[in-house]
């Protein structure tokens, strides 16, 4: 057995009930190698690494660590073999300090105050260029700090095989760069790093090798130097796919929805949106960028009238909408479509079929006390036909459909009401590439019809391609409103981190966009 091999998986199979999550997966990761696991949602990436980190046991196959066959039955055992995992959702104790979190689960002495513990942590930090305030409580930390702490934790426990599950999803571009530097340091120290992601440019930027999973199988392992993003997408999806998002210029954009000094406070009376002002124009996609939890959700709900605002103005073509419920807005003849982030928990009723879900936005317009489902059957069939929704039937519970089909039902319903303004929140999150592109297409078509679209997104590459302007939020404040064609990712990243865009842009929204 080659001594430079850190991890070797042979014929790993895992099934959940009737679902095959992994089938005969082979994977080899060398020491000092950054290995990406790439694949669409549900391709089996997380299941695979969960077996490596001892959370699941494989139903078949072998795991070798440094050439030795092992049977991992618990995360504790995995860490004894030097396998450390940084989960997408951090596993930290909020009320503990950084130091307490680091030593939790790995207690060398009875007391936590020993000097050598701190020395050991600090020397680790120096080695890998990490930074941490040992006495800071997790609840006071930013997302970036928490992630740093997670990494220190697994390194302290002696891991030299690191698994990072979608580590960049919650970071600004600058934080991503810092993380990549740390990962490169690990590589220098001969650690093996397994990076789970679905962002291609990250794979290309930092990894040495990439294994592509599709439907639970490892379809290919290739060297980064010998592949291209296009090839990787083809491997992921299983067919050639065009990666460019169409962006259509629409000649006339008129201001339609004005937001002035919008402030929203949460239950603890903390401002989650603070003096937000912008204008939405017809025939335009206004992107919203920001780290998760910067006020995007509150903004969408305020625009649609589903949640209360504390102060500020919402003006739709001269009409004030602040304090109005969704129905009052609708009754004024103003159609605001809303595709919320939480599709099944908010936009749709998971246990109902398409017909009853269409009813959600129509029943109160109908006459009389009874609901009328007759006309909706045709609409449902129409929706299935035009958006190519795959479902066993129009009354089949929508929660049993795939993510892409669920989203099509939701967007289809909102579009069927011919909205003037369409608010979409993470509309492609969790969708496979094919479905995502169908959604981009749909949105672009609406834009061409003159609909004013708000697009809350997380992938800056997508945002910069599909949007006309981008509004950047940080901690509920607007830190920038920029032209999507003229901005760089780095500049957006700075704004997402709270650096306010310098004055002088023509895009503050008070002017009509056609001048820009």
């Amino acid at each position: 057995m080659n001594q430079t091999v850190a991890v070797e998986l042979k014929g790993i199979t895992k099934t959940f009930g009737t679902v095959v999550a992994n089938e005969k997966v082979n994977l080899t990761v060398q020491k000092g190698e950054i290995h990406a696991l790439l694949g669409e949602n549900g391709a089996g990436k997380s299941t695979l690494v969960n077996m490596l980190s001892g959370l699941y046991s494989p139903d078949g196959g072998y795991i070798y660590i440094r050439g030795k066959r092992v049977q991992l039955t618990s995360p504790k055992q995995a860490i004894e073999y030097g396998i450390g995992m940084v989960h997408q959702h951090f596993k930290l104790v909020e009320s503990f300090t950084a130091k307490e979190n680091i030593i939790a689960g790995k207690r060398d002495t009875w007391f936590t105050t020993h000097k050598h513990i701190e020395d050991k942590i600090l020397s680790l930090c120096e080695k890998y260029d990490l930074k941490v305030e040992l006495s800071k409580r997790v609840e006071d930390m930013s997302v970036g700090e928490k992630q740093m702490l997670e990494i220190i934790k697994v390194l302290y426990q002696g891991a030299d095989i690191l698994i990072l599950d979608e580590p960049t999803a919650v970071l600004t571009p600058q934080e991503v760069e810092r993380l990549f530097n740390i990962i490169r340091k690990m590589k220098e120290q001969d650690c093996a790093v397994i990076l789970i992601t679905h962002k291609l440019h990250e794979v290309m930027a930092i990894c040495d090798k990439v294994s592509v999973l599709r439907r639970g199988e490892n379809v290919a392992t290739v060297k980064i130097a010998e592949t291209t993003p296009t090839q990787l997408v083809e491997l992921m999806v299983g067919r050639p796919t065009d990666l460019a998002i169409q962006n259509y210029k629409v000649a006339f954009g008129e201001p339609i929805y004005k937001v002035n000094n919008l402030t929203v406070k949460d239950k603890e009376n903390v401002s989650v949106l603070d003096q937000v002002s912008f204008v939405m124009n017809t025939g335009e996609i206004l992107g919203v960028a920001g780290v998760a939890g910067s006020g995007q959700k509150e903004l969408c709900e305020a625009l649609c009238g589903t949640s209360k605002i504390s102060s500020g103005e919402l003006i739709f073509k001269e009409q004030h909408l602040e304090g109005k419920s969704p129905r009052e807005i609708y009754n004024r003849g103003i159609h605001i479509g809303f595709v919320p982030e939480d599709r099944l928990g908010m936009g749709l009723v998971g246990n109902m079929g398409i017909v009853d879900n269409l009813l959600l936005k129509e029943y109160y317009i109908q006459q009389g006390l009874l609901v009328n489902r007759k006309g909706l059957k045709d609409k449902a069939n129409n929706l299935i036909h035009t958006l190519e929704v795959k479902t066993p039937g129009i009354d089949h519970p929508v929660k049993q459909l795939s993510g892409g089909n669920i989203q099509k039902v939701l967007i289809g319903r909102e579009l069927a009401l011919s909205p003037d303004v369409l608010v979409t929140s993470y509309p492609v999150r969790g969708l496979d590439i094919g479905a995502a592109y169908q959604i981009y297409d749909l949105l672009n078509k609406e834009k061409q019809k003159g609909v004013s679209i708000l697009f809350v997104g997380e992938d800056l590459d997508v945002l910069m391609q599909i949007s006309d302007r981008i509004l950047v939020l940080c901690d509920g404040k607007v830190t920038g409103l920029v032209n999507a064609r003229e901005i760089t990712k780095e500049a957006l990243g700075l704004m997402m981190a709270g650096h306010v865009q310098e004055e002088g842009g023509d895009y503050s929204g008070n002017k009509s966009y056609k001048n820009a």
Binding site: T13, G17, P326, D342, M346, G347, L348
Partner: protein, 361 residues
């Protein structure tokens, strides 16, 4: 070998029926062992349970009288449960409904029968509805836990009735015996085909509630709200109003049961007027999957079980507790079978190190 419990994606209707039939069969088998242990022939006991509930016209009528309040209360509970408002308070709502109806019966019995009965029905439904509205309001306004509050309010209602029975409403002509005066004929529900008219009300209500939940706007709103409050808010549904309306309907139906029991069965107000019916109705509603027509069927089966259980006590001279055990065993199996609707148990061979890497079930 290993055993795993796996969540099943969705159970077909036919499979559900099979599982529940299997559960009843299992219950009968297990109960048979118990019956044999106490020295009786299980087949004879089961047969006489049926006989006791349905064997003669008189027994059949008695069983039907038990079905009526169970059915109406379960319909009410279904309305609240559809909204995932866990109304455990039907017992108290029945009592308060009986209280409201009794107030009318005792004070206005000089009016024509139709008028008195109508007033009793309205008062019963309003009292039951208002008793439900209290936890409903607390939930809508302060997001309190309705399970605890509805349950606690049952005891308040019960003590209130006991207070009336032993105190201000005690019949002076009962020679010191703590009982409320019997209703006059004008406050007693008439019989139709030998059973009081409540059965017609119950059947009408099955249809009304079915239409209400499945085909009206309010019913739709209740269902949406039960599925997800966020979705309801998103759709522009006035969440607080819907909670209040649904729980009022739920309580009002229980209150109607209370009125029927007081008027037609006990002919007076006493603390036994609900007699655990409010709790049994929860089981009926739940087993029926909150569907009105099925509630009607399950209510009949449940009443047969109760009446049959009572009959075998006298027929076989077995103690009441033994009859209760038989009832409980059947319920336990049927309710327990819900587990097999949601999960399945898989036996598998552990083949971690098989060369093929296969997985066999």
């Amino acid at each position: 070998m290993g055993i795993k419990v796996i969540k099943t994606p969705e159970c077909s209707k036919r499979k559900k029926v099979w599982i529940q039939m299997g559960a009843i069969l299992a219950a009968l088998v297990i109960t048979s062992l118990f019956i044999m242990a106490i020295g009786h022939n299980p087949f004879k006991v089961y047969f006489s349970m049926l006989e006791g509930a349905l064997g003669t016209p008189y027994r059949l009528k008695e069983t039907l009288v038990k079905v009526i309040p169970l059915l109406i209360t379960a319909l009410g509970i279904a309305v609240a449960f559809k909204m995932k408002f866990w109304n455990i308070g039907a017992e108290g709502q029945i009592l308060m409904g009986a209280f409201g109806a009794s107030y009318m019966a005792l004070n206005f019995d000089y009016l024509p029968k139709v008028v008195v009965l109508t007033m009793m029905i309205i008062a019963g439904m309003i009292c039951g509805g208002l008793w439900g509205l209290i936890p409903g309001y607390l939930k809508a306004q302060f997001n309190t836990n309705e399970t605890i509050i509805t349950l606690m309010m049952n005891y308040i209602a019960l003590k209130w009735i006991i207070y009336l029975q032993y105190g201000p409403w005690k019949d002076p002509s009962s020679l010191g015996f703590p009982k409320v005066a019997n209703f006059k004929d004008s406050a007693t529900l008439p019989n139709v085909f030998g059973v009081h008219i409540g059965w017609i009300l119950a059947l009408i209500l099955v249809i009304i509630i079915y239409i209400f939940l499945n085909h009206t706007k309010k019913g739709y709103e209740i269902t949406v709200l039960g599925e997800s409050e966020n979705t309801a808010r998103y759709a522009g549904i006035h969440v607080k109003n819907v909670i209040l309306i649904a729980i009022f309907i739920s309580g009002a139906l229980a209150g109607l049961s209370g009125m029927i029991e007081a008027s037609a069965v006990s002919n007076t107000l006493n603390m036994e007027v609900a007699g655990g019916m409010g709790y049994s109705a929860i089981i009926v509603a739940w087993l029926s999957g909150l569907s009105a027509p099925i509630i009607a069927i399950v209510a009949v089966l449940f009443a047969v079980l109760i009446q049959g259980g009572a009959y075998i006590q006298t027929a076989f001279q077995i103690p009441q507790s033994a009859a209760d055990i038989i009832q409980a065993m059947i319920l336990f199996c049927v309710l327990g079978s819900q587990f097999f609707i949601q999960y399945k148990i898989v036996f598998y061979k552990y083949t971690l190190h098989s060369e093929k890497g296969g997985h066999t079930i």
